[in-house]
């Protein structure tokens, strides 16, 4: 186990580490580099500092982790047995919702039709609603194709909940990609779409229209076309 203190080159760096610890401990939400940098004295190398802190806490009861590009402290995974009392009641996800979530996560951006194609069955009313409500899935944009269907992707909350640093951390994503199983086509081609960046729209996506985000509108009747109305 490393000594967190000897890792730091100077008293000044130690001061900065203390600040970083305090900020990340106090934060209600994961913080990104920019937010941290704004709070710390000018000219501090945030990345180096974060890595130092991450290392210092690596083997402790609380770890510094990066989720979706943001930093947060959380309890060490191996201590989950201790935390029974803190567990929150989970929503039960149906098998359909679970599969839909996985498809959206690995194939994003994915349209409803694409999800249905992979599952070989239409998505029942409410399945997407449940995922949207859980804030694990969000509407990303619209596919630039006839009917301009809405595309879905995962949210920051998804990254946070599953402790993913980025989408390339999705379990098994590399193997799936290599096997061509994230392709929409038979892997004769074996060219595979990498699950794209969460925030940036892809080339074939348009941003959502204003009305798309109206809460009651989109998904309740299982017909994407309604969004166009």
């Amino acid at each position: 186990m490393t000594d967190p203190n000897t890792t730091f080159s100077s008293d000044q760096q130690l001061d900065h580490v203390r600040m970083l610890e305090a900020l990340l401990f106090a934060a209600e939400e994961p913080l990104d580099d920019a937010t941290l940098a704004k709070r710390l004295p000018d000219g501090v190398d945030i990345r180096t500092l974060l890595e130092a802190v991450q290392k210092a806490y690596e083997l402790r009861g609380v770890n510094l982790v990066q989720v979706g590009g943001k930093w947060m402290f959380r309890t060490a995974g191996d201590l989950s047995f201790l935390m029974q009392e803190e567990r929150v009641e989970e929503k039960r996800l149906s098998r359909a919702a679970l599969e839909t979530l996985a498809i959206i996560a690995y194939h994003q951006p994915a349209t409803r039709a694409e999800i249905e194609e992979i599952r070989g069955v239409s998505i029942s009313k409410g399945t997407l609603d449940i995922l949207l409500e859980a804030e694990w899935v969000r509407m990303r944009g619209r596919r630039k194709s006839p009917g301009r269907p809405v595309t879905y992707g995962t949210s920051d909350e998804f990254m946070r909940h599953f402790g993913l640093e980025s989408l390339s951390d999705l379990p098994g994503v590399d193997e799936l990609k290599a096997a061509g199983l994230l392709s929409s086509r038979v892997p004769a081609s074996f060219s595979v779409p990498i699950p794209g960046d969460q925030v940036q729209l892809e080339d074939d996506e348009d941003p959502l229209d204003d009305g798309d985000l109206a809460p009651e509108e989109p998904l309740n009747d299982g017909d994407e076309q309604v969004l166009e109305a």
Binding site: E28, E86, R87, A96, A102, V121, L181
Partner: protein
């Protein structure tokens, strides 16, 4: 009703053979295949198929009964198994969702392509290509299922790992400060001071020739003129130096139209923009008459 149990059995059989359900630990509510457990005795005839998440799911479950590794399954055997199953359900006159029938039709086609020698038609995919497409879809669905399980068994926030229970947060201290611009202040002052000024306004008549005045003047002037006279000449005689000329012309012209209609004067004009002549009405008759 013995048929009922007959139907239920094969369905259950494939189900328990599924490697999927065993890989999903029952203790995890997220991953338990809840749909499988909802088959009740009364509804068995209908729900039995509904226990599957569509035809692809049914195929996947059947494939699982063939081989643990679905890359090794015999597509032809799988197709036959599916078609037999559907045929049995139809024999029992069970209602089947269209999805299952569409899949059955497609699989029947696939079967024929696999059994018959390839045609030379380049546009049609070969039986092998079709089989590969089906295998791909099955593997892809299975991959997503396995991924869902892996995802759900990660250390999840709020279940396995925890964020700070009572974060202090960043306290935002809001102080409100009044803001004002000198301009607004002066405007407010001027506005209300002016509002309190009591003035008597005299309404000044605008310097125009009213229609009725023009009519009166014209009546008087034309009364003396029996010969055709240009309007300009009449206008020159009008004693209205401080009135705008445009207004005088407009009102005089308006008045002349009124008077002409009443027969008090006559008007003539050779063409557009040429001088307008007027004379007293009835001047064509000899004055003596």
């Amino acid at each position: 009703m013995t048929d009922q149990t007959d139907i239920e059995e094969p369905a259950r059989a494939v189900e328990t053979g599924s490697g999927l359900s065993s890989s999903q630990t029952a203790e995890d509510p997220f991953t338990a295949g809840a749909a499988f457990n909802e088959i009740s005795q009364d509804d068995a005839l209908i729900i039995d198929v509904k226990g599957y998440e569509g035809p692809l799911d049914l195929l996947l479950v059947m494939a699982r009964t063939q081989k643990v590794d679905i890359t090794q399954i015999s597509i032809l055997a799988l197709v036959e198994q599916y078609l037999d199953f559907i045929a049995e359900l139809r024999r029992l006159r069970l209602e089947l969702a269209a999805d299952y029938l569409v899949m059955a039709a497609w699989l029947a086609y696939l079967k024929s392509r696999l059994l018959l020698p390839d045609t030379d038609n380049e546009d049609e995919p070969t039986g092998e290509e079709l089989a590969a497409a089906l295998a791909f879809r099955l593997r892809r669905l299975e991959a997503m299922r396995e991924s869902a399980v892996k995802l759900m068994t990660r250390n999840r926030l709020g279940r396995d790992v925890f964020a700070r229970g009572a974060p202090e947060g960043v306290k935002i201290e809001r102080t409100s400060e009044f803001a004002g611009e000198l301009y607004d202040l002066l405007k407010a002052y001027s506005f209300q001071r002016e509002a309190q000024i009591h003035v008597n306004y005299k309404i000044v008549r605008p310097p125009v020739l009213t229609l009725s005045d023009a009519r009166e003047i014209l009546n008087r002037l034309v009364g003396d003129i029996a010969e055709w006279t240009p309007m300009d000449v009449l206008l020159a005689q009008m004693p209205l130096s401080d009135i705008a000329r445009g207004s005088t012309i407009a009102s005089t012209f308006g008045a002349s139209l009124e008077l002409a209609r009443e027969g008090a004067i006559e008007l003539k004009q050779a063409g557009a923009f040429s001088p307008l002549y007027m004379r007293i009405g009835g001047a064509s008759k000899t004055p003596g008459q």
